[in-house]
């Protein structure tokens, strides 16, 4: 099939380089920086939340008086609700999504499949602009007279309707989510089409790096389910602005036809696949990195790719486990519980393949590898603790407690960001042509992963002890008073983890001024992006590469080139 690619000039001017660019590499960088800014904002919000939980009613040092002058530096209860709402929303939609899917999707898909750009560069550019605008709207909502959205990131009606949250904040939240949905859908269509149409000659689906597999499956889920979220957000806006009553029930409902549980169904039909939307690129990247730095082919490449497909399909069938306490029909409850359990099987195969890749390898502990090993550990914990919540009876106790908070932070935050950092350290040379400092990167890893486990393990323990979520002051309850020391511990760990990110920022600054020039292939791996110079030139490849072998050809003893790996453009050396 012959596909015409939109032609555009190399990004030279300020405008085409930083603002309006069709170039997938520039858009990737735009997404990366946007994501990092929002990550910082969301992270600082987390610090405020943690401070309040450990010291309710105590003024926050340094920032307190600046941010909350009217309450003498204490985070007030309504601001607290806004903080946890915005923390969740920002981290999921404007930090993880831009970094993992926006930045690395854009960077890796064309480079790793041997294409010169995305298939729809204009759509790609618009996708970034929509994300940017939606993120700005989300932040501006905080400046409206009654403040930003405060109904939790799940925005359950009727709390998220005018009845529960008057003011423009919640409306702007829903509009921002809708715009974000448009952006994600555009990106998803672009990714899917690019992978299908622009693979270099010779590259079958099972010759693609697993990162591309992860991104492709993510894009498919995005294309199917983000529009559902958009619909839910739009109906929320209708209810709030035009006074329809899709989700309104109770004393305030006059028509009597609305149902708040309808929104929960709409939200979680999207919301559960969303978890996999966020984790699949991370899985793909980690599967690749584990193989690259073990210097041997990925164990069970096909089984890994197929397990990812199986999980993608299953992820669409289990959303009801978020709603066990709403008393769905028994049949639904039982089906959703059973289907949820089946996810453990492909996940287990996944883990076996990861460990199989490490087995008898020759492991180089570079910083991207450390982060990947961290993901295996952290996602193991996060995945296994999901069993408690997928089981209906234990969920009766643990639902809406800190156990849930710890669990989803392990899966969605810890593993995704660790994989994201690993990817940043790994592909930085292809983006900017310089190497990030390895020593600082390793310090960053250890300083992050130790307190990270303190935070999220601590949260799960508190949840087991009965502490429920979204409490401004949990110690109102007598049975939670004993958890004050635990909350202090978790907060201390969280602050340590926050400070650990200084290593990362220092690294970026140091590399900007003093970073050494990267060679074309500093990590010695054979996927297509490493056949190009660092940083990658405009249009990536001088001539479209012809692919002759798989992505993980490392450690072949018959190689005579003096390297221990093969480029994908080289004829496979048979053993």
């Amino acid at each position: 099939m012959k596909v015409l690619v939109h032609a555009h000039d190399a990004p030279n001017t300020f405008l085409s380089k930083y603002i309006i660019s069709y170039d997938h590499k520039v858009i990737a960088k735009q997404f990366l920086w946007l994501g990092m800014v929002f990550l910082a904002i969301g992270g600082l919000m987390a610090m405020l939340i943690r401070w309040t939980l450990a010291n309710p009613g105590v003024p926050m040092p340094f920032f307190g008086h600046l941010l909350f002058p009217n309450s003498g530096g204490v985070v007030p209860p309504d601001s607290y609700a806004m903080l946890f709402t915005e923390h969740g929303t920002i981290m999921i939609f404007w930090a993880i999504t831009p970094i993992l899917i926006g930045a690395f999707g854009n960077l890796l898909i064309p480079l790793q499949i041997g294409a010169r750009d995305m298939i729809f560069p204009t759509l790609n550019m618009l996708s970034f602009h929509f994300t940017f605008v939606s993120g700005v709207i989300m932040l501006l909502a905080l400046c409206t007279p009654l403040g930003g959205a405060a109904g939790g990131w799940t925005a359950y009606p009727t709390l998220s309707l005018n009845l529960g949250s008057p003011g423009a904040g919640q409306t702007l939240w829903a509009i921002a989510i809708f715009l974000f949905g448009i952006s994600s859908t555009m990106g998803a269509i672009n990714y899917i089409t690019t992978v299908i149409c622009l693979r270099a000659p010779g590259m079958g689906y099972f010759d693609m790096p697993l990162a591309v597999w992860g991104l492709l499956l993510t894009a498919i889920l995005n294309a199917i389910f983000v529009p559902v979220l958009g619909a839910g957000g739009l109906l929320l806006v209708f209810d709030r602005v035009f006074e329809t009553q899709y989700f309104l029930a109770g004393a305030a409902a006059t028509s009597g036809t609305g149902d708040p549980i309808l929104f929960q169904h709409v939200f979680w039909i999207f919301g559960h696949p969303e978890v996999y939307i966020l984790i699949l690129p991370a899985w793909g990247i980690v599967s690749d990195l584990l193989s690259f730095f073990s210097r041997k082919p990925a164990f069970g490449y096909k089984a890994t790719a197929l397990s990812m497909c199986a999980i993608t399909v299953l992820s669409t069938l289990v959303y009801g486990h978020h709603m066990f306490t709403t008393q769905m029909s028994p049949l639904l409850t039982q089906s959703f519980m059973t289907l949820t359990m089946t996810i453990s099987i492909p996940s287990a195969i996944f883990f076996a393949n990861w460990l199989g890749t490490l087995y008898k390898g020759s492991i180089r502990f570079t910083s991207p590898m450390l982060f990947s090993l961290g993901v295996v550990f952290v996602f193991g914990l996060g995945g296994l603790t999901g069993l408690y919540l997928g089981t209906t009876t234990t969920d009766f106790y643990l639902h809406d407690t800190y156990f849930v908070v710890g669990h989803f932070h392990y899966t969605m935050a810890a593993s995704v960001f660790l994989a994201g950092f690993g990817a940043i350290y790994f592909w930085w040379p292809k983006m900017y042509g310089t190497m990030l400092n390895e020593r600082l990167a390793k310090a960053h890893f250890w300083a992050t992963i130790l307190p990270l486990n303190g935070v999220f393990m601590g949260m799960m323990m508190m949840g087991y002890a009965g502490m429920h979520r979204r409490l401004y002051n949990p110690f109102i309850y007598d049975f939670l008073k004993k958890l004050i020391p635990m909350n202090n511990f978790v907060t201390t760990c969280a602050i340590l983890m926050g400070f650990a990110q200084i290593f990362f920022i220092t690294n970026l600054i140091w590399t900007y001024f003093k970073g050494e020039q990267a060679s074309d292939n500093p990590w010695e791996v054979g996927t297509l992006e490493w056949t190009t110079p660092s940083p990658v030139p405009h249009y990536n490849f001088k001539s479209i590469p012809i692919v002759k072998c798989g992505p993980h050809e490392l450690g072949n003893p018959k190689l005579t080139t003096g390297r221990d790996f093969q480029y994908q453009t080289e004829e496979l050396v048979e053993v």
């Binding site: 453990s344 401004y472 450690g555």
Partner: protein
């Protein structure tokens, strides 16, 4: 010298053992005072055992292989994709092991518990059953007992706010709804919670085994003062409860403002399916 060291070591041991037991106490869930809470805890513990087992395997692989096959110790990696037969074996063994020890056990046990316990509501016309209607609102709980005539939403209903009085040793059925936003009726001491939703009636039953004062929490974010939505639950021995009920019934007519429509928020008791 050696003796002194031993004593000080013992002392350190004692202190840290004390700290450990304090730690365990801190992380123990609130006392279980229901007839079925142990079923939830059993399943929790079963999953924990399985998780520890499988996570240990992952850690052995992760740390063990990282140690054994670091580039320093193992210069030449084994070049293999894992052949098809081996692959199939690994996949089958792992899939089956997980399915048999985790998935099927958990699903079957949880399903049995649901069908035989949590969803097995006592008969509606059983006179021994105590029926309670709960109305949640921002940010308080209203409770309604049927009173002498055993009919809800009449003048003699015993209505209380943020304080629930119940007997032990009897099955109690709650029907819940909400006036405004979604709340969640959380009984930490019975290990269960159920959402109270506007426009719907949800049901839950429980039987308590220990008298005393306990707490009821709202577990679903319901607005700024969500954290203040706490109610007290006093559990009596059956005789004491009867006394409390008869005393409360005397004041029921006085306390229910019969002139206000708002005080008739109750509904006709719905049969339990």
């Amino acid at each position: 010298m050696g003796f002194k060291l031993l004593v000080s070591l013992l002392h350190v041991g004692q202190v840290s053992a004390g700290m450990f037991s304090d730690f365990i106490t801190m992380l123990t869930p609130p006392e279980d005072i229901s007839t079925y809470g142990h079923k939830i805890m059993f399943l929790f513990n079963y999953i924990t055992v399985m998780n520890v087992f499988y996570f240990t395997l992952v850690c052995i692989g992760l740390f063990g292989f990282s140690y054994l096959y670091s580039a320093k110790r193992n210069k030449t990696p084994e070049y293999t994709y894992g052949n098809r037969k081996k692959q199939l074996k690994v996949t089958l063994i792992i899939g089956l092991a997980v399915f048999c020890t985790v998935d099927s056990v958990i699903t079957v046990t949880a399903n049995n518990d649901l069908v035989n316990t949590f969803w097995k509501f006592p008969e509606s016309d059983d006179p021994e059953t105590i029926k309670v209607q709960v109305l949640a609102q921002q940010w308080m709980w209203h409770f309604r007992l049927a009173g002498n005539d055993k009919v809800f939403n009449t003048d003699d209903d015993i209505v209380t706010a943020n304080h629930l009085h119940l007997p032990i040793g009897k099955k109690i059925v709650f029907q819940l709804t909400s006036k405004d936003v979604i709340h969640s009726f959380f009984l930490p001491n019975a290990r269960v919670k159920i959402d109270a939703m506007p426009g719907r009636i949800s049901r839950i039953w429980v039987e308590f085994t220990k008298s005393g004062d306990f707490e009821i929490a709202c577990a679903e974010m319901c607005g700024t003062h969500h954290y203040l939505m706490k109610a007290k639950m006093t559990l009596y021995d059956p005789d004491d409860f009867q006394y409390w009920e008869s005393e409360a019934a005397k004041f029921a007519y006085q306390e229910n403002d019969t002139g206000t429509v708002d005080s008739y928020w109750g509904w006709k008791w719905e049969s339990n399916r």
